[in-house]
């Protein structure tokens, strides 16, 4: 199964786990399965139309999915899916 790396702001929704294993052969399927396993996380990642929010980036391994096949990007066992939200902190 692919591993999803959960950013700090969302870890309270994954019982504080930084990494979770989630099934899914595309990014889209994986994100929906993530919501099924960790209710509440879906609405933080996806907008009302089910699209990934515009202040969140999803990477498969090292590459941002817009440079791959977007939400249809295929996943294989062992892939790492990183969720990287905008953060404003600096002070």
């Amino acid at each position: 199964m692919p591993t999803v790396l959960i950013p700090t702001p969302l870890r309270r929704l994954t019982a504080n786990q930084a990494k979770v294993e989630v099934a899914g052969d595309t990014v889209d399927v994986l994100l929906h399965n993530l919501e099924a396993g960790y209710p509440g996380i879906g609405e933080r990642l996806l907008d009302a139309d089910g699209k990934i929010k515009r202040f969140i980036n999803v990477f498969v391994n090292e590459d941002e999915i817009r440079t791959l096949q977007g939400a249809d990007t295929p996943l294989a066992a062992g892939d790492r899916v990183s969720i990287v939200p905008a953060m404003a902190g600096g002070a």
């Binding site: 515009r54 404003a88 600096g90 002070a91």
Partner: protein
């Protein structure tokens, strides 16, 4: 096209531009209506002496770099070369770019010097500087030449807080000659857990003043320019224009979008970072500098086209931040700024470095320019600064 020879070309250029005498230029330098004076000779000529306050842009790079120094085409500009010929030709080229107030110095630097006017001879390292920077100059990638570039460099820090503190301390220690600091806050007891620029005795006093005192203590070679005001759409271009590189250590989304857009319009590299709890992100948004072999990277809006709705992403003031975290992340920003100044190494452009202190892991993710980006894309729809508080639906305060 009719063939014209060099003398005809020079005569043609001079008939199409305005020339200024050394005496008239000196008068204008003294009376506060100072134009932007640009030395377009080669580096070795510049280093042997130049007009005080002149910016160095060699002729070959003038059109490529002019916007970094004069964003407004109505900026009064005086160009000079060695004898007044190259600058006359160059002035004509700037006029083609829409610069309407370009003049060429009659007789060039030679004319200036023989009129007995003051000349600035750029620094050679003093005996004390040779000792102070010896661990730098020993490095083949720095050397005395690189140290000279650091001393000539102007870096602007947005915020003298968590990220700005370590960045300012290391850049000052490294001998970055001019450090601008934008911050209108005062030092608070709750800052001292991480903002290592400041100390107990400065609580309640302006951060820019605290920073200035601390940095002067570290390195008297550094000129600290305090900007004790919030950075806004009204002043951002003005403030940023005078610097070579911007380091972002701001703490809110409106300022992040503002600084991104302003840096892109002014074609300044932005060494950006943000922190949250135990996690940090760093990257450089670079508008591209083909003459230095740097191609355009993504900007903040390519990565984050829209800000999160207010309240969706908690701030450090709400969620907390490990005090050491900005120490790591701000230091990485300082490294990247120094690499850009030196022109060495692989700058963090098109790559987002993420750091997780709990896992103690660094990861590098590839990010790309979005051709549809409203600011840096192929057909930009945003060409001037906007109201960022309205855009983000939140005030520019943490």
């Amino acid at each position: 096209m009719t063939r014209i020879n060099r003398d005809q070309l020079i005569a043609l250029a001079k008939s199409q531009i305005i020339e200024i005498t050394p005496q008239a230029l000196e008068q204008r330098l003294g009376n506060g209506s100072s134009p932007l004076v640009i030395d377009i000779r080669e580096r070795d000529e510049f280093e042997q002496g130049h007009v005080p306050g002149a910016v160095f842009i060699p002729r070959g790079f003038l059109e490529l770099r002019i916007e970094q120094h004069a964003y407004d085409p109505a900026t009064p500009i005086v160009l000079y070369c060695a004898g007044g010929v190259r600058s006359a030709l160059a002035a004509r080229n700037l006029q083609e770019m829409g610069y309407s107030r370009v003049e060429s110095l009659i007789g060039g630097f030679g004319g200036w010097r023989s009129a007995g006017l003051p000349v600035t001879v750029p620094r050679k390292l003093t005996a004390e500087q040779k000792i102070r920077y010896s661990r730098h100059t020993l490095l083949p990638d720095v050397g005395e030449e690189g140290q000279g570039k650091l001393l000539d460099a102007k870096v602007l820090l947005i915020g003298a807080g968590g990220l700005g503190s370590p960045a300012a301390l290391y850049l000052a220690a490294a001998g970055v000659g001019t450090l601008g600091i934008v911050d209108y806050d005062t030092v608070d007891l709750s800052n001292l857990q991480r903002q290592i620029l400041h100390g107990e005795s400065w609580i309640g006093k302006p951060k820019v003043e605290s920073a200035k005192a601390r940095l002067a203590e570290i390195n008297p070679d550094v000129t600290v320019v305090p900007h004790r005001e919030p950075i806004t759409s009204a002043n951002a271009l003005q403030i940023i224009q005078d610097y070579d590189i911007v380091l972002n250590g701001s703490d809110n989304f409106p300022t992040r979008y503002l600084v991104n857009d302003a840096c892109h319009f002014l074609r300044k590299p932005l060494v950006d970072a943000s922190i949250f709890m135990f996690e940090g992100q760093v990257t450089i948004y670079h508008p591209g500098a083909p003459e230095e072999g740097i191609s355009q990277g993504p900007c903040y809006r390519c990565l984050y086209p829209d800000p999160p709705p207010p309240g969706e992403v908690p701030s450090c003031a709400e969620a907390g931040v490990l005090g050491v975290l900005p120490g790591i992340v701000g230091s990485i920003q300082a490294v990247e700024a120094i690499k850009l100044i030196l022109g060495k190494g692989e700058p963090l452009i098109g790559r987002l470095l993420t750091f997780d202190a709990l896992e103690m892991s660094f990861r590098t993710l590839n990010i790309r320019r979005n051709p549809a980006c409203p600011v840096c894309g192929d057909a930009p729809s945003l060409t001037e600064l906007i109201d960022y508080e309205q855009f983000c639906g939140m005030p520019a305060r943490e």
